[in-house]
Amino acid sequence: MNARRILIIEDEHIVAKALSRALHETGAEIVGMAATVEQALKLVETIPEFDGALVDINLRGIWAYSVADALAGRGVPFVFATGYGSPIIPDRYRHVPVLQKPFEPQEIIAALFG
């Protein structure tokens, strides 16, 4: 089976980096890291193929739901990561798994691919 290709959208570099490392150790491939909505949208648009994404819902103070919509548009599964309690997430994303920080990197794989 091919390595799972994952995009990490998280604005704390050290967190993104630690997640990358841990996911890499589980055999996943990290196809990119983005810290802003703009960077994330660009990656979602340009990366040829990937299997899943982790989306921190707040990037530098901006809500990342446009990134979620772009991922949904491409049919790529994603999970939200957040420090906020889950009630703030809009209803239309209620089917999206939410990881409350801090979480185990393995939880991403479990939430994305079951």
């Binding site: 967190v15 890291m33 920080k101």
Partner: protein
């Protein structure tokens, strides 16, 4: 003393609006203050339709249910409810609290009267509190995620577990120090000078104008740049203590910064320079591995901020240049967006 007079004065001082209704005639009487809350002139006629039209549509059912309950002869006859009023013109939204009392005679309603108070200010304060609590949870959980990752990354860059404790706890102490700065109100932003001096002071280095020079204008930092900058400066300072200018008798450190907007956006440019440390570096320099400190400076700062960094370590000197775009001083705060 005139009791009616005093009562009247008290009602005016608190700002109560008053109402009374007669269930037999269906007549409703409101005072001028209550009419004003509904956007009505003092001489306007009021009926049930006017009353309901001025209530926020999402709250109408709740209000009607509460009123219905208060005329139930088996109940206590009290109506006690807070709801939103949009006024008959649908203009300004305000929160009101009302307490009304139904008077029964032989199980029949004979009158209903009560008072209304505008509680918009209190509701706004409550809302702000909720937002602050949500933001606090956000910050705390994010900080825990940072600590978690910091532990992972520190461990990964250690030769053995014995090497872990000191750098990890120092990094934790940096995070802790910076929280004190970050909890200040937005009206007194953290400046670059404060962060530089805080991190130098933590390692026992005080600017003395010769061996340790700290020089630059007061420059407020964007809120979200403070933590990562402090962490970067901590790495520089702790390395200077271990291998560089802060540990060598002949060493000197200067930290200088200025603001430029020559090439476009307003940018803070900081130069960290250590000299005279030849003897230290040759004996103590790390053998070739990329430490977490370097990663924080070379990767984390540019990733998290609109920034560029350049770190050069030679035999007898250290140079680190950090440029950060600081144009956007009124950055969005997450909890503002929650409103």
């Amino acid at each position: 003393m005139n009791d009616a007079h005093e009562l009247r004065a008290a009602v005016d001082l608190v700002g109560l609006g008053r109402y009374r209704s007669d269930p037999l005639t269906q007549a409703i009487q409101w005072d001028a203050r209550l009419k004003a809350m509904w956007g009505l002139p003092p001489d306007a006629a009021v009926d049930l339709g006017v009353f309901l039209a001025g209530i926020h549509p999402e709250d109408r059912n709740r209000v009607q249910a509460a009123l219905g309950q208060s005329v139930d002869p088996d109940g206590d006859g009290v109506c006690d409810i807070e709801y939103r009023v949009i006024g008959v013109n649908g203009g300004a939204e305000r929160w009101v609290a009302t307490r009304g009392k139904t008077v029964f005679e032989d199980g029949k309603v004979v009158s209903f009267h009560g008072v209304v108070l505008d509680i918009s200010e209190r509701k706004r304060a409550e809302h702000t509190n909720l937002m602050l609590i949500a933001e606090l949870e956000h910050r705390t959980r994010n900080l825990l995620a940072v600590v978690d990752s910091l532990a992972e990354q520190t461990l990964a860059s250690c030769e053995s577990l014995q090497d872990f404790s000191v750098p990890f706890r120092q990094r934790l102490a940096t995070l802790s120090r910076v929280q004190g700065l970050l909890s200040r109100p937005e009206t007194s932003p953290v400046t670059i000078g404060e962060v530089v001096e805080l991190e130098l002071h933590a390692l026992g280095a005080e600017p003395d104008g010769s061996r340790v020079i700290v020089e630059g204008p007061e420059v407020p930092l964007p809120h979200r740049s403070v933590q990562i900058l402090a962490m970067g400066l901590h790495e520089l300072a702790t390395n200077a203590r271990k291998y560089g200018a802060l540990g060598a008798p002949s060493g000197s450190l200067s930290v200088r910064w200025h603001v430029t907007n020559d090439d476009g956006p307003r940018t803070l440019v900081l130069h960290w320079a250590e000299d005279g440390i030849a003897s230290r570096r040759t004996t103590a320099a790390h053998p070739g591995r990329v430490g977490l400190g370097r990663t924080l400076i070379e990767e984390s700062i540019p990733f998290q901020l609109d920034a560029q960094t350049h770190l050069v370590i030679t035999g007898d000197s250290v140079r680190c240049d950090i440029s950060i775009v600081i144009e956007q001083t009124t950055e969005p705060r997450a909890w503002n967006a929650l409103r």
